[in-house]
């Protein structure tokens, strides 16, 4: 029990160090993570009207989480390759799991403003109750976990930080803007819908659209999307753990 308390304290300290302090020192950074989702919301509102803009609220929440968490690929690689502080933590009682969890949660601070803003807008415009609120929260957690695992896994392949600079914007597009995150999957022609499920964000976005009543489906649809998202996350976590360079061979 004391060991768990120590690891929780360690996670909290690292989140303070890697998540809270950088945002406190450079608060303008948060704007960077909210500009794109707000722009898409604006255009959908203008061209498709207020009804369709609710899709952009759900999409905005997913996109903010993706944008802020995928940065983990650069952050983890920076700490390992440039600052070389990861080795200090490896050679200490801190566990690798605590380290990865704290870096993953830290990145959420980048998107905190966007997460709060889109959550408020969703709850106002979608008239959430406790259950749908819980479902949206669960979908957000799945988004965070899957994208963080993906980001961490990519970071392990980096030999130099420049290897990664191109990936964050590319992955943000591939995970947030191309899959049915800002729009219903039914807009994709049926034969090509399977492609959408290659993106881990499709499942939580679908779950959020179901929870807010933007799309409808059989009672099992919500559970299937949660299950798909959770499975995808587990695979990504497994791969991240498989390739993680905590103690090198």
């Amino acid at each position: 029990m004391a060991g768990i308390r120590r690891q929780i304290r360690a996670i909290a300290a690292l989140i303070w160090f890697d998540g809270y302090l950088p945002i406190r020192r450079s608060p303008f950074n948060v704007v960077n993570f909210i500009v794109n989702p707000l722009t898409i919301l604006f255009f959908i509102y203008i061209f498709a009207g207020p009804g369709k803009a609710e899709f952009a609220l759900v999409g905005g929440l997913v996109a903010v989480i993706v944008g802020s968490c995928i940065v983990l690929e650069t952050e983890a690689a920076f700490i390992r390759l440039v600052a070389r502080l990861q080795d200090m933590f490896v050679s200490s009682p801190l566990s690798s799991i605590s380290y990865v969890i704290s870096l993953s949660i830290s990145q959420l601070f980048n998107g905190l403003l966007g997460i709060v803003l889109f959550s408020i807008l969703i709850s106002v415009y979608s008239h959430l109750n406790a259950i749908s609120g819980f479902e949206i929260g669960l979908a957000a957690i799945i988004t965070w976990a899957s994208v963080s695992a993906l980001g961490f896994m990519i970071s392990t392949f980096a030999r130099d930080l420049r290897d990664l600079w191109v990936y964050s914007p590319l992955l943000t597009v591939l995970l947030s803007f191309l899959p049915p995150v800002f729009y219903p999957i039914t807009l994709i022609p049926a034969p090509f819908r399977f492609v959408a499920y290659l993106a881990p964000t499709t499942y939580p976005a679908q779950a959020m659209q179901l929870a807010t009543g933007l799309i409808s489906g059989p009672p099992s649809a919500l559970a299937l999307n949660f299950l798909g998202g959770a499975l995808y996350t587990l695979i990504l976590v497994f791969l991240a753990a498989r390739f993680a360079r905590w103690r090198q061979k």
């Binding site: 120590r6 304290r9 360690a10 909290a12 300290a13 690292l14 303070w16 160090f17 890697d18 302090l21 950088p22 020192r25 450079s26 440039v82 600052a83 070389r84 502080l85 080795d87 200090m88 933590f89 490896v90 050679s91 200490s92 009682p93 801190l94 605590s98 103690r247 090198q248 061979k249």
Partner: protein, 316 residues
């Protein structure tokens, strides 16, 4: 003092390349042990294995009796590391670095706070306690990392090239910190490619080259590896010019005074005190540039390896 750190026939292979080739050392508690060698000699590979960051290909190693492979988590409770060319995060202060590191090692917040303040003060970082690291000099940033490691009060501190890139004043500052740490009974394993650093700091040292130890002992024991030689005469012969042939002293003549090592553009003659005096006079009479000094670790290194630390000369 009991042995705190030991390695037996430690090997590390990357494919067909051998980074470590059967390294064995024993380090007593309360001492500084230095690994001295050129870049790429295998020093960092060795300390990374000892610090549980890298798995060996063969051999055994332990710290305080705990095996670095099988009991890594036990080892990690007793060590702290400053990796080579590490740097603190630019937007955070020295205090924040130390505090985070201590809590991440398992200390409770109030103990971590008081210990962080204590170490910041004792390492003369008090003035910079709340200054973000991007505003600090290289020496102060390095001191921040050392403060993190030392604040843990770990039994064994592993410092990989702790003074690389520092100016002489900052380097001496770091030396003093290392001496103070060891005076409290702790053990330090450090790597360096600075001869004077190894001599000034270590109780015992090993000269490493191409993944193997070529000499080990105290600095005077290692200097004693060149029998009969106490002094070095460094002879810098001018090359011939268009105006005529410069006055030179043949290598054969130099060899009559002792062993001749070629080091860059100079020749080093390892000889006795009397031989050094005689050869220096001969050089001065012929207008050949010369200097005389006592045998150094670098001379032993060149003698054993046939190459300067950081150079590529050879023995004659």
């Amino acid at each position: 003092m009991p042995v705190v750190l030991s390695a037996e026939n430690l090997e590390k292979r990357y494919g067909s390349k051998r980074a470590l080739n059967g390294v064995s050392i024993k380090v007593d508690g309360g001492t500084v042990y230095a690994l001295l060698g050129p870049n790429g000699a295998g020093k960092t590979t060795f300390v990374r294995i000892m610090a549980t960051q890298l798995l060996p290909s063969a051999g055994r190693a332990s710290i305080l009796g705990y095996d670095v492979v099988a009991q890594a988590s036990k080892v990690r409770e007793h060590i702290s590391v400053v990796p080579q060319e590490a740097r603190p995060m630019s937007l955070m202060t020295p205090y924040e670095h130390v505090l985070t590191y201590l809590i991440s090692r398992g200390l409770d917040i109030s103990t971590a706070r008081s210990r962080a303040n204590e170490i910041i003060k004792s390492l003369n970082l008090g003035v910079y306690r709340d200054e973000i690291c991007s505003n600090l000099s290289g020496g102060l940033r390095q001191r921040t990392l050392i403060a993190m490691a030392m604040s843990s009060q770990a039994d064994v501190l592993v410092l990989d090239e702790p003074t690389i890139g520092l100016d002489p004043v900052a380097r001496v500052d770091v030396w003093n910190l290392i001496r103070e740490y060891v005076s409290s009974g702790k053990t330090i394993l450090l790597t360096t490619h600075y001869m004077e650093e190894a001599e000034a700091l270590s109780d015992k040292l090993a000269i490493v080259n191409q993944g193997a130890i070529v000499a080990e002992g105290t600095s005077s024991e290692i200097r004693g590896k060149l029998p009969g030689a106490t002094h070095v005469v460094v002879v810098l012969q001018k090359p011939a010019t268009a105006k005529g042939v410069a006055e030179r002293i043949d290598t054969e003549v130099l060899a009559s005074y002792g062993r001749v090592l070629k080091a860059g553009s100079a020749q080093r003659v390892l000889t006795s005190e009397a031989g050094a005096s005689e050869l220096a006079n001969l050089c001065l009479r012929r207008g050949v540039e010369v200097s005389v000094r006592q045998i150094s670790l670098e001379d032993v290194f060149i003698s054993e390896v046939g190459q300067e630390i950081g150079g590529d000369s050879q023995t004659n």
